[in-house]
Symmetry: C2
Subunit: 291 residues, 2 copies
């Protein structure tokens, strides 16, 4: 938020929105290619929530890989309409309630609400709302969340379909038990060491061996030590690529594989028996997409 | 199909399609209202697959309850494009393979493929293809299906994600075991007695007691003996409505209730304890929508 007098959160009103159907032609060089998705164009449905403060705008995106992005952007517009006229104060007072409100437009709920196109449209809007809240408070969202009390944090969740697995009270208790180590964990986060990251940059299925090697070496030079390769095309190709990757990174660094849902259960077992010698840390082969 | 010389199925080509975003203002009189969906406008994404035979057109719909229908219609257009230029022969030679083809457009698969908007668009197209096949053969689809051999029937299914639960061979064996009673079951179907039906026509949550009673009586007069009421609003209202319904239909006829996902597990248990005295045959309260 711009400097100057800070207006109270209940006076910050969402007055409109813009959406953008952003697409990048990643299919041209096979970036992002995997066994299920040979030619994706990495894309985002981008939502901008505008407020009565000219330069206070919340940005949110949801990720897709191409043509379906138009549907997600259209869905995001339908959801964003429901935020217009509301204040940041009322929307963030209880984010769980706001989520419930956003999934309760029954005509849209029918075609979602927590799956596929509608879920992706919804997430772009909710991400924009979190971003707007963070910008208003002049904090990154992770800091906004970690500054919450256990009760405030738990109130961000709609417990309707999970109350039988965990109640809000149980969730608060869990978080309170972790409070003694919270300060130390925030310190680690501030050193940018809280979440180990891996890269798939070198591992796209459509890349030549030469390109894969070159990109792994570039990544190693930056200190990256965790890699993921796409698999699930031809098993002989998978074996060759994993062998090469291990030759370049050794066996001390972490190597993961991802078959992007092309395998059934038995296929996954059979394939992994053949890839086991290259010691993958894990295999991603979700049998159904969980979005 | 029109009379005259019948062209071979491999010469029937899908040359184009039309889609219609059909909406009916059912919210005006609370038809279709339930605890989750108080004001739905019953709608359909309608697909017409056109062929090189002028009057041979396949019709398919998927159902929604309003604004989301525009997204489904847009999704259906994206899927239908992939059928253009193909022949009815190649598409129906193996419907399981055709399904796999239709869900394998990876840019669209990313936002579906077997859930929500994309699934609904897909189903309108696949329904249209089945309809086209039936019209070409001059058979209703149920007859087309029941005339299949076990092997032909099983080939209509893509086993990718279910092979660990049942293999195509096991499915064929199951069907072969049922063959001795098949003829008798077809005879019952031809008498229109194969599938017991219930009606929710009287049971929408937004209807007055008077309207509910009137509609139940109209249904009884036609011989209908199975009813479903929407529940899940106010429990006292639910009890009153079930009591009235039982007074009109008695306890010999079947009465079901449907809370349309508004309840969590414990809420469902608590509510059903209070409604048990009205002996509902079942309660629908899916905790998450399964589309």
């Amino acid at each position: 938020m711009a400097s100057g007098m800070k207006r109270p959160i209940h006076e910050i009103e969402i007055v409109g929105f813009e959406t953008y159907d952003l697409r990048f032609p990643t299919s041209l060089d096979a970036s992002g290619s995997d066994a299920m998705n040979p030619a994706g164009d990495y894309s985002a449905a981008h939502v901008r929530l505008k407020t009565n403060i000219t330069d206070l705008i919340g940005h949110g995106i949801s990720f897709t890989i191409g043509r379906g992005n138009g549907l997600c952007t259209a869905a995001a517009r339908m959801v964003a309409e429901r935020l217009v006229g509301k204040t940041l104060g009322e929307l963030t007072a209880n984010m769980g309630k706001t989520w419930r409100y956003l999934v309760s437009d029954s005509q849209l709920r029918w075609v979602g609400p927590e799956k596929g196109v509608m879920h992706l449209g919804l997430s772009a809007c909710v991400n924009a709302l979190w971003d707007l809240w963070g910008r208003y408070l002049n904090k990154p969202v992770w800091k906004l969340v970690s500054d919450m009390t256990p009760g405030e944090f738990v109130a961000c969740i709609d417990f309707r379909y999970i109350r039988d697995a965990i109640t809000p009270e149980e969730a608060v208790t869990l978080l309170k038990e972790q409070e003694p180590t919270k300060k130390e964990r925030i310190r680690i986060a501030e050193m940018n060491q809280a979440v180990p990251a891996y890269t798939t940059q070198a591992g796209w299925l459509g890349f030549s061996d030469e390109r894969m090697i070159e990109l792994i070496q570039e990544n190693l030079a930056t200190g990256m030590d965790k890699f993921k390769l796409k698999v699930g095309g031809n098993i002989e190709d998978d074996k060759r690529r994993l062998k090469i990757a291990r030759e370049v990174i050794g066996y001390e660094r972490m190597l993961m594989v991802d078959a992007n849902q092309v395998w059934g259960v038995q296929e996954a077992i059979d394939a992994m028996k053949q890839l086991a010698e290259y010691k993958p840390t894990f295999v991603l082969t979700s049998l159904e997409d969980f979005r």
